[in-house]
Symmetry: C2
Subunit: 338 residues, 2 copies
DNA sequence: AAAATGAACGTTAGCGTTAACGTTAACCAG
DNA sequence: CTGGTTAACGTTAACGCTAACGTTCATTTT
């Protein structure tokens, strides 16, 4: 039962230090108006009393906060962890704290989070992607708070936007596959509508094959609990259904699951089947056969996005929308078809 | 320039609805004291005006919040994402919001986060592990806020504790290795002091081998940017330095890096070398050769921890410390030595 | 009919902090 | 010694909301 007595407030510190409340406030905040001698004395007493300022009172008084709200689809996987890392580093060094939430790919969950977050008067809000409830957009447009949409790209963001063009990424993969002579493409993803960006990449891929070859892109969308298993199961499904000569995956982890499926079935890659991942994840760095994938500059994206948002918060004019470059990394899991 | 005008406050809603501020407050909070008819009318107007309550003012008035602060070492990897998932689900359904932060394994960063967080008057605080700055412990003990330490285990937590005994986990791995006849063990980890839990597992492993065989456990601790690469590089280092017959890893991802290193060098597992991971990660579900590893019930741990903390918050008596079971999963990367 | 009830609503007094402003004393040039 | 400047404080009024208590008035009870 050690934890009992009421926490000290600024008034208590002031009383104990024989100064006014304001001197304590100034000392704590490190602003002008107290002599160095008194400041040290006050800080010593505050520490002794384990005084902790009340941020609610502060934010109420100054009508703002140094919180940045960040909404992500999920914590699973490296992708959002990388973006997050870039953002957080930038915000931290600018004196902002970030509060993070995941939507598990549900726009409804996103809306309820936006509502909760807005009630805390944050300095800025970051959403992942462009797929929001109409009310989310209304709320955010009506509020004076700067909003960043990250990871995806559009010319008409809620406020500002930093990300990559996923449709274009799909086209790049398609171009690569077509130029290597592949003819029977397939795609492994999560259930439709779950990950809108992946759906856009598939659309880009589809359009290239439709135009260049007049071919359909088959797709498998199993629900398998984790990316590796999804890749494995989706590959099995596609191999059972037909005879694709190249399979593209939502990301490198799924692609690895696909590789394992091929290995199990005695198929050799890239002789029997081409494999293309996405995102150039850490896993790929130790694979004996270099994976064909697309590099996305996620950390840079986080830093860029955060920087843009900070500029916006500080009233500095910023570009509405900033696309980041993509690069297809040819590996040893695809090769020119004879 | 759509975003301009001041957000509405409760007073504005009251004026527009021709009722008192209190009626609006009651309507919004869904408590008794307003007729159904008025409540609907008020809510309609509030929605029209895009009214968002001010949580700072609310928390200041009621002197509490429904925030739970969660501190994790990192967002990288499945481990903390799993624990987090379990916790968040539990808190969400109990009406609490969680604010998450990562320390990147730095107790100093943890302390500064604890200070920041305390200023928001959270309902509870969760720290990962037991390795804190003395001042962190002082601050938390002095505050009336319930504290949960998760992932590691001790009989003398700051407040309450839910986790696994990492030293014991190391012993289990040691017992397995000894009983299979392995004699030249090694361990791949991150730099010492970085991950205290991993250091404890290594200590458990060391003690078993010292007692049973009088043998040292070699260790490699490369800094390679990601787990897979760390496993790969650490394995290379150990194979160059001596001739271990079994290598244990900080986690399954490192173990996979190790497997890739062996494959590259033409070593076969488990004939030439035993490989042991930790945490039974998703990756392992698609490997052709089942990995010897230790199962940790991370999601359950999150749920259990959150439940215990909620009980503590609601004044229900709880056990100080709750250890979760461990299970060594024998795989095909270790086998009895002749 | 008077009195008692209770639901529906309003009024008041904070919650802990800071911005804005007022006061005081010390200092300095002329 | 005057008048003016400035550093170092203190005082007060918000900030937006809610708990606790008051008031009103239509019902019911006696």
């Amino acid at each position: 039962m050690t934890k009992k007595r009421q926490p000290a407030k600024i008034e208590d510190v002031a009383a104990r230090a024989n100064v006014s409340i304001m001197s304590v406030s100034r000392a704590i905040r490190g602003v002008d108006g107290v002599s160095e001698k008194k400041r040290r004395e006050i800080l010593r007493i505050a520490r002794e009393m384990k005084y902790v300022p009340n941020s609610n009172a502060r934010s109420l008084a100054v009508a703002n906060s140094n919180l940045i709200g960040i909404s992500l689809p999920t914590f699973a996987g490296e992708v959002f962890a990388d973006i997050l890392n870039g953002m957080r580093r930038t915000f931290d060094s600018a004196g902002y704290s970030s509060v993070i939430d995941t939507t598990e790919y549900s726009p409804e969950a996103e809306l309820s989070w936006v509502r909760r977050l807005l009630s805390w008067q944050p300095a800025g809000i970051i959403l992942t992607g462009l797929d929001h409830q109409p009310e989310t957009v209304d709320l955010l447009r009506a509020s004076p708070i700067p909003v960043l949409e990250i990871w995806d790209h559009t010319d008409t963001p809620i406020d500002i936007c930093v990300g990559i063009d996923h449709y274009r990424a799909g086209q790049m993969i398609g171009d690569h596959a077509v130029s290597f002579g592949y003819r029977r493409p397939a795609f492994v993803s999560t259930p439709r509508g779950h990950d809108t960006r992946a759906d856009n990449r598939l659309a880009g891929l589809r359009d290239v094959f439709a135009r260049e070859r007049g071919t359909e892109v088959l797709s498998a969308r199993p629900q398998s609990g984790n990316s590796f298993a999804t890749g494995f199961d989706g590959t099995a499904e596609l191999l059972d259904a037909g005879a694709p000569d190249i399979i593209c995956y939502l990301n490198d982890h799924m692609a690895f699951g696909g590789l394992m499926c091929c290995q199990m079935r005695g198929l050799s890659v890239p002789q029997d089947l081409g494999i293309v991942g996405f995102n150039q994840l850490d896993l790929a760095s130790v694979l004996p056969r270099k994976l064909t994938t697309v590099r996305t500059l996620r950390r840079l994206m986080g830093i860029t996005g955060a920087t843009q948002l900070l500029a916006r918060i500080n009233g500095v004019p910023t570009e509405k929308s900033k696309p980041l470059p993509l690069e297809l990394i040819p590996g040893e899991t695809t090769r020119a078809q004879i």
